[in-house]
């Protein structure tokens, strides 16, 4: 009739707690990913390394500034016009090769940038722009579509050309004859 009569139960309990704790400790180490919960704050727990992985994704989109670093005259021409928010690539294409070459040429004087006329494919040069892409470059935005804001300059091509009495209706340069280039007039 002593108090310690049932100590076997205590030992069983203690063993379960200790073994469970040890197993749990190692299982936790095994299953929780590295850097998990490193950064805690007012947001939920997460794997801190995930942010660095997502941040490491290369940015391939080219900003206008990259073009304007060299083509400074374009910036002045375009400033204040309605086309100020239009990016270079919208009409000229992405020109990734051209920019890569230009960036290399900045560091190394011996590298020459291929003249625009000799580019093919990737970079829509001024020549390509007229011959291959022609007025579609304008019409992708300015051809009238149901849903466009009323104050946006939009045309129905045949109607517009007829109204303006254009001579060469099929000419790829037909838009630029009246509207100019970078300093587009309305």
């Amino acid at each position: 009739m002593s108090f310690f009569r049932d100590t076997l139960h205590l030992w069983i309990l203690a063993t379960i707690v200790v073994v469970g704790g040890v197993v749990g400790f190692f299982a936790r180490q095994q299953f929780i990913p590295e850097t998990y919960g490193d950064k805690k704050g007012r947001y939920v727990v997460y794997r801190a390394a995930a942010l660095d992985e997502i941040k490491a994704q290369p940015s391939i989109w080219i900003e206008d500034q990259q073009c304007l670093n060299c083509h400074t005259d374009v910036h002045d021409e375009r400033e204040g016009t309605l086309h100020e928010t239009v990016a270079c690539y919208h009409c000229h294409g992405r020109g990734k090769k051209h920019i890569e070459e230009a960036l290399l040429a900045q560091k190394d004087d011996s590298i020459e940038i291929t003249p625009a006329e000799e580019w093919d494919g990737d970079f829509l040069t001024k020549v390509d722009f007229f011959n291959a892409n022609n007025r579609k470059a304008c019409l992708v935005c300015h051809e009238s579509v149901i849903g466009m804001p009323k104050d946006f300059k939009q045309i129905v091509v045949e109607k517009h050309l007829k109204e303006q009495e254009a001579y060469e209706v099929d000419s790829p340069e037909v838009c630029f004859e009246c509207h100019g280039y970078h300093d587009t007039a309305p």
Binding site: M1, F3, R5, D6, H9, L10, L13, A14, V17, G21, P33, G37, K39, K40, G41, R42, Y43, V44, V45, Y46, R47, A50, L51, E53, I54, K55, A56, Q57, P58, S59, I60, W61, E63, T85, V86, A87, Y89, H90, V140, C141, E143, V145, I146, G147, M148, P149, F152, Q154
Partner: protein
């Protein structure tokens, strides 16, 4: 802790005498509050031995439970202390400098050119047939019908079915992308903590932890999530997290020819987006759901969901 156990055992046991040999330990007390299952035998001399045994059992259970509860608490303690420390540290470290990003779409400016769609696809390598952002066109006809269609990625090329402008009351474009809700439902259902809120309030998917169960796809009230066919993971608009953390704007904002998309910091009262949200009438999608989106719209019609 012992007090609690005492109260529990007192509730079940009889106050005047001991319990019958049937036993009425503290564990039973929880289930027999009305004492109907644990009757008292009146406290005669024959019960003394039984009472001794019951008392012993009760003491044993008391002590044993204290030890178990105590050890469990001790086991948990280091973890909980650590978490609290870290939380305090992070809050102190971040201070006021942590940005809070926001997005503003001006539906009055969108012309449906589709430049943002290509920009997003190329920047984030989104497979064909899936999209992180898209542009809807709402057409209200004069007969009361509303038609919603998607802007093709190359913009309207003139090959679409003709709609007679005479039958149309009004029409407008609505660019859609992730709302990056402050109380994101997608975040709450993720079973692996792969859906996370990154500093800046941006909702992201951890590609390593995501198991592609698509719970978040179903939870999102705005339908911006999808299972990427190529990676098998949940995919969504990240507001180009890799760009905005380097002080660039998202690719779609960069690509918009009319400036219909505006990205900026909501925590800075002088930023363009903060000023516009303050000064112009704007709304968010499905406000009644209480998700508190950080994507705001100017000129949004009531029919848009």
């Amino acid at each position: 802790m012992l007090d609690i156990l005492n109260i529990l055992s007192d509730q079940g046991g009889c106050q005047s005498g001991g319990c019958s040999s049937g036993g009425c330990g503290s564990s039973d007390a929880l289930w027999s509050e009305g004492s109907s299952a644990c009757g008292c035998s009146g406290g005669g001399p024959a019960d003394l031995v039984a009472e001794d045994g019951a008392q012993l059992r009760r003491d044993f259970l008391k002590n044993a439970s204290s030890i178990v509860l105590g050890s469990v608490t001790l086991t948990l303690l280091p973890g909980s202390l650590g978490a609290a420390d870290k939380a305090a540290g992070a809050t102190a470290a971040s201070g006021d400098s942590e940005p809070l990003y926001g997005f503003l779409v001006d539906t009055d400016k969108c012309i449906g050119a589709g430049k943002c769609l290509t920009a997003c696809r190329e920047e984030n390598n989104v497979p064909e047939g899936q999209a992180r952002t898209w542009v809807e066109r709402y057409i209200h006809f004069k007969d009361g019908n509303i038609q919603v269609d998607l802007v093709p990625e190359v913009g309207y090329t003139g090959e679409e079915p003709e709609i007679d402008p005479e039958t149309v009351d009004k029409a407008y474009f609505v660019p859609k992308l992730c709302n990056h809700c402050a109380d994101a439902p997608c975040n709450q259902v993720c079973p692996t903590h792969a859906s996370i809120t990154a500093p800046g309030g941006v909702e992201l998917v951890d590609p390593d932890l995501c198991i592609g169960c698509a719970y978040c796809v179903q939870a999102c009230p705005y339908g911006v999530r999808f299972i990427n066919h190529e990676t098998g993971n949940a995919d969504k608009c990240t507001w180009c997290y890799h760009r905005i953390t380097q002080d660039q704007t998202p690719a779609c904002v960069e690509a918009c020819p009319t400036g219909a998309r505006l990205f900026g910091r909501l925590d800075d009262p002088n930023s363009e987006i903060s000023q516009k949200i303050r000064s112009l009438p704007n709304s968010v999608l499905k406000e009644h759901l209480g998700t508190h989106p950080k994507l705001h719209y100017i000129g949004l019609n009531g029919e848009v969901v």
